[in-house]
Symmetry: C2
Subunit: 539 residues, 2 copies
């Protein structure tokens, strides 16, 4: 039996369906289905079912893991306050931001802004605890905050990697491939932003192709550019062409991921992008990027206190620009290899730090972004998947609402991996079941099954089993649970090899979601006009 045929058969025989244009995606969870298991599956096979069956996002039904006590959290907050009161933050090359903070009561000394204890948190209090980000397909709009969880792919890698081609600079084609793969999977709810850097497109024009690709090759919610305030404005303008200016003014339709220049600096590129998104009532994701020992202390408590201070200052700035505009409290903690000084990921210290950050975000009443499947490995090997699982589970347990870098991450974020992306999706799928929690409904206890089967007999044929087996267990796409002999005879394939095949199959069967011709033309015209208005820049 040819390996390709085996996998294709497995996929067709299982219930791991990829999204086709406008078609259904039955999942291995009856609670997500609009119809019964078998009928929904048949509907997907035959092309019936115009609505997606996959959830637009996850409603988590398990409690977040509360690592620290109230006293411990208050101590972290007090240390964040102390940093802001004693050392302060620098806001460079942005007199408008300095004026906003000064008018709000902060102490501005040159480019340094200092805050009284509790002041920044108070400034953040106007941000909503939860908001909706509209998607082009209304059925895929996502709820950000509260008990909701949204997965998005990795962001920002200049390189891509696959088994066939190795590591190379990413191109616009790669970017579009990942938008398509993200669209096709039921396990990612959001198209992300710079899923990889299309380095074959001029730096000052990339954002136009990226935003267009998100809007044309997917209908999931997405993120725009932040690398220059004008690029942020372009991104939002393109969203207006799709959603309408009034809708955009009243609703979040685009996010922008802005990074603090840690330690304790906001630069004008990032505050410019942040202010642009906030002014348009769109959501900045405010993320300090702290590698312990470099951009912050080597000790986790210090790094978390710093991150809390830096994040709140960014969110406060957005609220001063437009009170009540949506914002996301971001988190990106890493550690360092003592031997080399290089950053490490999926290690226990950031996992613990994320659990505390989750508690801090809840106390601040802000939606939380956390990172997903981190690793420093260059390939999707055992190291990569151990680190990614540790990192992802910490994000799930800490109560994160928006998990960026949920799939694809390799090499500390420098590389977006095709096979890694598919492998991470299996864990994203598992998270759907995990976050649903432990079902205590009466039929789950199978008392009729025990009465029917009794001691010493197998449950294979029990009525209870027949009633439940189709929906009982999450079915990963890539895991091989066949016997050793079956696996050997099928070529002793490892999971990255199976993933490579799946990448090809999903891209081959990809169908773009429908888009209104007039809107598409308007987008294309906007892109062409903006590109023609400026010379190429390559730096």
């Amino acid at each position: 039996m040819a390996p390709a045929a085996t996998l294709a058969k497995d996929l067709a025989g299982g219930n791991y369906w990829y999204i086709r244009a406008g078609k259904g995606v039955p999942m291995n969870d009856s609670r997500h289905r609009s119809g019964g298991g078998r009928s929904a599956r048949v509907a997907a096979r035959t092309g019936d079912g115009a609505r997606p069956h996959a959830p637009a996002f996850i409603r988590r039904e398990i409690p977040p893991y509360e690592l620290l006590s109230e006293e411990g959290l208050a101590l972290v907050e007090a240390n964040a306050d102390r940093i802001l009161a004693d050392v302060g933050m620098e806001i460079r090359d942005d007199p408008e931001a300095l004026k906003l903070f000064e008018a709000a009561g902060a102490t501005v000394d040159g480019v340094t802004v200092r805050f009284d204890r509790g002041h920044v948190a108070a400034l953040c209090s106007t941000a909503p605890r939860q908001f909706t980000q509209l998607a082009r397909n209304p059925a895929r709009s996502v709820e950000i905050g509260g008990n909701n969880v949204v997965f998005a792919p990795t962001y920002g890698s200049p390189f891509v990697r696959d088994i066939a081609g190795g590591r190379r600079y990413a191109s616009l084609l790669d970017f579009q491939n990942f938008v398509k793969l993200t669209y096709a999977t039921p396990w990612l709810h959001h198209s992300g932003g710079t899923v990889c850097e299309p380095v074959d497109v001029p730096v000052n024009k990339r954002h136009l192709d990226m935003v267009y690709s998100h809007l044309r090759y997917s209908d999931k919610a997405f993120m725009g550019s932040v690398t220059h305030p004008s690029r942020a404005a372009d991104s939002i303008e393109m969203a207006r062409l799709v959603f309408g200016a009034d809708v955009v003014d009243d609703n979040c339709v685009i996010m922008g991921n802005v990074n603090v220049n840690s330690p304790l600096v906001w630069d004008a590129t990032m505050t410019g992008a942040l202010k642009t998104y906030a002014a348009a009532n769109q959501a900045p994701v405010v993320v300090p990027f702290i590698l312990g020992g470099a951009m912050g202390p080597v000790t986790t408590a210090g790094a978390v206190a710093q991150a809390h201070a830096e994040t709140l200052v960014g969110i406060a700035l957005g609220q001063l620009v437009r009170p009540g505009s949506p914002a996301i409290y971001g988190n990106f903690l890493s550690s360092m290899a003592l031997r080399s000084g290089s950053p490490t990921f999926g290690t226990p210290e950031p996992a613990l730090g994320s659990l505390v950050v989750g508690q801090l975000a809840r106390r601040a009443g802000l939606p939380l972004r956390c990172s997903g499947a981190f690793t420093s490995s260059k390939v999707p090997d055992g190291q990569a998947m151990t680190e990614s699982a540790v990192s992802m589970l910490s994000a799930l347990l800490c109560g994160a609402n928006f998990i960026l870098h949920a799939a694809g991450w390799l090499e500390g974020g420098l590389t977006m991996g095709y096979e890694k992306f598919m492998m991470d999706l299996d864990l994203c799928g598992a998270a759907h079941t995990y976050l649903k929690g432990f079902d205590l409904s009466e039929d789950q206890f199978a008392q009729d099954g025990f009465a029917e089967i009794g001691p010493g007999k197998h449950f294979f044929s029990a009525q209870h089993t027949l009633r439940h087996y189709e929906t009982a267990f999450y079915e990963p796409a890539l895991s091989d649970s066949s016997s050793f002999e079956q696996w050997r005879d099928a070529g002793e394939r490892t999971s990255d090899d199976r993933a490579a095949q799946l990448v090809g199959e999903v891209l081959e069967h990809y169908e773009a979601p429908p888009i209104d011709d007039a809107i598409d033309s308007a987008l294309i015209e906007f892109v062409e006009q903006r590109k023609a208005s400026m010379p190429d820049q390559w730096y």
Copy 2:
């Protein structure tokens, strides 16, 4: 640079030290060290330090994850009670056990034993919440129960696998290799039991070689045989030769892992072994082995209720044999691939189930055994490590005290993997840091570092960094965090390849712990005499 030299240099330059006979093992955690970081490291290099620096076990300082409410847990318990009251358990070919239960007030009908609600839990109440298992080296004795966590290697695989030799039947040499590897790592605290099946030794004599190997090639605590009551008795008798009969009568020095014949059957082999351990005041580990849909319901709530019922009956039997004897509440949940009916591991349903089992064990006041690094993969690839990390993290979060199968598991337990073993150890090491939790002590907040460095500068040279960097981060042995170029130039090695090298290096440098000559002679004599007393059996 030769890859071998690279890794050896990395290991020597780092702080990942393997145990040599009687020598120290400084760890990347100042809280475990008896001396300072640098002095302990120098001591290890020069061979000073007669006591192990690695912890004999972990004292967990993070709370268990409480998934269900009190009401939910009471519902699970009520369903377990209902199974025992309505369906009951069969205890086959063991009239003594039936009599013990009848005398204790259970209803015995043929081989079926039924219990009033709450009765079995009451019978278990004499078992200790926590006990010490003595090791041959007193510094390595382990605390079982409470907030303590003990890691042991995988148990019971008939096959082994390494990159060089592929998959093959395990031999006594393999068994001894894994005892040595377990002894040498600071991250496993317990030598385990049947770490693999030495199938080159007759079935009725294997236990003698296995117990001798644990006692001779390690000085960590261990488990004895359970495959026949006489083999359990032999195991305990050998422990008496080492520890002394009086010590054995008063202390746990050996465990026996007994499995329920799920669903709802105890057979005489297992009750025989269980009674033998309990009568000798040694600890049975009582483990239902439930693959959902086969040995129990496909629904997790039903499987957990069944497991709770089965486990408590086993522990109650031990308490009836010898009230107050130690026992461990065991847990082994799995799921099933819908496509093939084969068991799957590291999936979300058993992960959730384990969290609930942890709560049930705490309510029952019993030490909990949970499974560790599970997978159905045949090789230590990405699938294997994703599943293993999910499974292990569930064990850590559920509050397990004794984690069996913490390292080596492949192929649903059929294969013990050499490289997988080393890769799992990295996660066991990470667990040491994770379970220590978030350090809130004042210096961790680095306020002097912020004052010194201020905004926009790197923390590399901060006094705070210099004071903490040596102990700030856990350092896995196998993870590669070097740059892409360094990794490429070193041969593009994956983590399983690096693990293979480490296996060879650790075995090459292995030194057996000292043992008293008279005790060693007595053990050898016992083994020879018992072997001579019976013909070989191969089934």
